[in-house]
């Protein structure tokens, strides 16, 4: 759509209109046909789009004109200050990871994989099939399409040891991306003013969702093998918390994977405390040197609330994820989702299910693993070559990020700005800390565009470090 020829004309005329006075007359359709070498139908389509966007207006029999903007006094929104009061959390704006892409810069800030890492052919053919299906015109059940629920349940069932009943096909709730799941879980199972234990550092989106839900965060430090179970036990004892949010496999930002002993010890603590483990398995499809071992497989009595997303491994446009929960907790989360959104587009669900049940899906996962390994290793080598002052905390066995400690005393925000003026975009580590950062860190994502520029990125970072330190 964006690249058909009508869109090309729309883009060109928007530029033209931007520098034209209101009321200026556009070239005739005949002139545009000649100018753009397009068919009259295409030119008409472009004109309709410009009219629908309110950029031009047509006077029949006369021509098409740049729309006149009515002049009016500026609006006064001052009264809203009193109506709104102070917010529960001071909105800190969007994360650095959500910034739009910056042309020509080397971009290591984004959390979303580049096109070449996605199963493009599978996604396009799934969408073409769904365009012809029932799913394009019908409402999905609130809990999701039954076949997709069953697929999510089966993914987890394969990791359950003998004697533990795996989740059933009706336990998963399909949601529009795992961020929605975090918000609902924190609202429904924790609630405002209540404590939630959380790893530090951890995913900034979880910190944001918890703040919006008014939850009180209780951070515990987490290293390459996960958190120290004794710290978790102390945090439960000290706060009376009933929930712990964690990413046991390939955590964002560190890439850490908990040892099996840590996982089972944490499960024991959670059970003995009558609490929930909110297991965010965001990187299930992103293992590099290791496979993920979700703890939900060991859960007998509904202590684990499990989150799995397909956004990163299928497509950022097919925003589909699932929460697997059992018992009253599932009802509580479902009620929150119903108030929040009623149901998830069945079209997205059908397309995602189509992708993950194609034989090409396992091939894609294998290819992606190989690509991620190459990208990770190239970025590591580029840092060693260009910025030897850096201390990469751990070679991550999975995920999409390097978590890098800067020399003590580095001003992280100065460094980020300095890199940006040199054409390198990176994310300051502070966003991943629920409280003060434990040191100067940055996160470098190795799934973006153009890995061939990693060596250049290493040198830019090294030079910026020398100049800001």
């Amino acid at each position: 759509m964006q690249h058909d020829s009508a869109s090309r004309i729309v883009e060109a005329l928007r530029v033209w209109v931007a520098s034209a006075p209101p009321g200026a007359r556009l070239p005739s359709n005949r002139a545009l046909v000649a100018q753009y070498g397009a068919s009259p139908v295409t030119v008409q389509k472009a004109m309709r789009q410009l009219m629908a966007l309110g950029i031009v207006e047509s006077r029949p029999g006369v021509g098409t004109f740049v729309r006149t903007v009515r002049t009016a006094r500026p609006a006064d929104f001052g009264w809203q200050t009193a109506a709104l009061g102070t917010p529960r959390s001071r909105a800190s704006g969007l994360s650095a990871t959500q910034r739009a892409s910056v042309p020509d810069a080397i971009q290591l800030h984004s959390g979303y994989p580049a096109r070449e890492l996605l199963p493009e052919r599978l996604v396009r053919s799934a969408l073409t099939r769904v365009a012809r299906s029932e799913a394009a015109l019908t409402r999905s059940p609130s809990a999701g399409l039954p076949e997709l629920q069953a697929w999510f349940a089966n993914q987890v069932a394969t990791s359950a040891p003998p004697g533990v009943a795996p989740p059933s096909a009706r336990d998963p709730l399909v949601i529009a991306g795992s961020q929605s799941g975090l918000s609902s879980i924190f609202r429904a199972l924790v609630g405002p003013g209540q404590p939630l234990i959380i790893e530090s550092p951890t995913y900034w989106g979880a910190i944001l969702a918890a703040e919006q839900a008014g939850v009180v965060l209780i951070p515990v430090p987490s290293g390459p093998d996960g958190p120290d179970p004794d710290e978790i036990e102390r945090a439960f004892a000290a706060t009376g918390a009933r929930a712990f949010y964690a990413q046991p496999n390939f955590a964002n930002p560190t890439g850490a994977q908990w040892s099996p002993e840590t996982g089972l010890a944490v499960l024991d603590i959670v059970r003995s405390r009558g609490a929930f483990l909110i297991e965010d398995d965001w990187a299930h499809d992103l293992g590099i040197d290791a496979d993920p071992h979700p703890l939900v497989g060991h859960d007998r009595d509904g202590h684990v609330i499990y989150l799995r997303s397909l956004t990163k491994s299928v497509s950022p446009a097919l925003r589909v994820a699932a929460v697997i929960a059992r018992g009253p907790a599932r009802d509580r989360i479902l009620a929150d989702r119903a108030g929040e959104t009623m149901y998830v587009s069945g079209l997205l669900q059908a397309a995602a299910l189509d992708v993950v049940t194609q034989p090409g899906w396992t091939t894609h996962l294998r290819t992606m693993r190989h690509q991620l390994r190459n990208r990770r290793d190239l970025l590591l080598q580029s840092l060693r070559d260009g910025a030897p002052q850096l201390d990469v905390q751990q070679v991550p066995p999975g995920g999409l990020n390097l978590w890098v400690r800067l020399p003590d005393g580095t001003d992280v925000h100065n460094l980020v700005r300095e890199c940006e003026t040199r054409g390198l975009i990176i994310a300051p580590g502070s966003e991943w800390f629920p409280a003060e950062p434990s040191g100067p860190f940055i996160r470098l994502n190795y799934s973006g565009e153009d890995p061939a520029r990693y060596p250049e990125a290493g040198h830019v970072l090294g030079a910026a470090l020398r100049d800001t330190h």
Copy 2:
């Protein structure tokens, strides 16, 4: 997808498996090829799907078997009772309008238009185009695709009188259906424990979203011309509320459209109180005898928070809507949306924009208006013929519903059950009241499947009324 031949085999084998013992061996692929007259590729595809769903398992070189379910002791979720405490609002379960369809019954309960009312050809061709586009593989900006934002703004700008600056192309926030907008607006602009003035009766989904947000509802009665402005003024004065939620055009459930005088009087009150009017223009595309006149067009200083959805007029699977807000209120809502979901699938946005900018879109709206008028009038005539004891409150000038008052003393829930045993599904009116219903009402939706059965529905309702009264 659902109707290709692999799906046919999957469905048939699921039935077969349901009555087979665990471990039973499935017919060979060769036998299935013969039995279903399908190609070996199709049979293999069906088998892969059954395996992905966890229904069968393959033992290479031996065959395919019904998956053995591991026996385990039943899970004990009792501990969750203490961990969860009592919920903020006792979840009342899903609305009657969200019930799955009941085979062979006449269905007047659902809120979603039948396929024949949707622009099927436009939706399918838009999706086919989007499947080939950038939008299938990229992330949308948080506020939405700029072109779709501009379209929503332009829709409103055309109703602004001279001297009032219409919303700009960056004011709309694209959301995944208007329910998400209601939740965010109530959380971000009202907040837990704070009063919200609301029409009675009104949309049950708004009541649900407000309850989930912990908002205190202040109901004011609303008739065929809208609410009495004096009542609104008194409600603001008595409660100190800073927000009023309303559907001024073709309200759900009554179909009422406010008179222009009521609209302007309410706007004046809202302005003088330093408050927000949350204008839910859900039925913008569903006018029958009248066109909608959104009040947002008269808003100068960001007092109107405007909601517009495409779910009902484009497709329930293309869940796309917009909130138009200005000033700090917009920032507050955007921050809530970011914590809740980050962004809306750009694929759905691109497809929706494609549909509404086709020349076929205006034709579709005209056809739908004609169909809705015929359906409304047929249902009205059917009630007069079959159930003359009923009092239809108003011939709705737009929307999808008849709001019907039952004879005094009718037990609504008995009547609903009685109708159901006779094959007619209707929705009890109590769901649309924020407090006690002001009388016995039912809502009859005239946009569902099979309007040819309306005369039958009238007679069933008449007979059920005679037998329960």
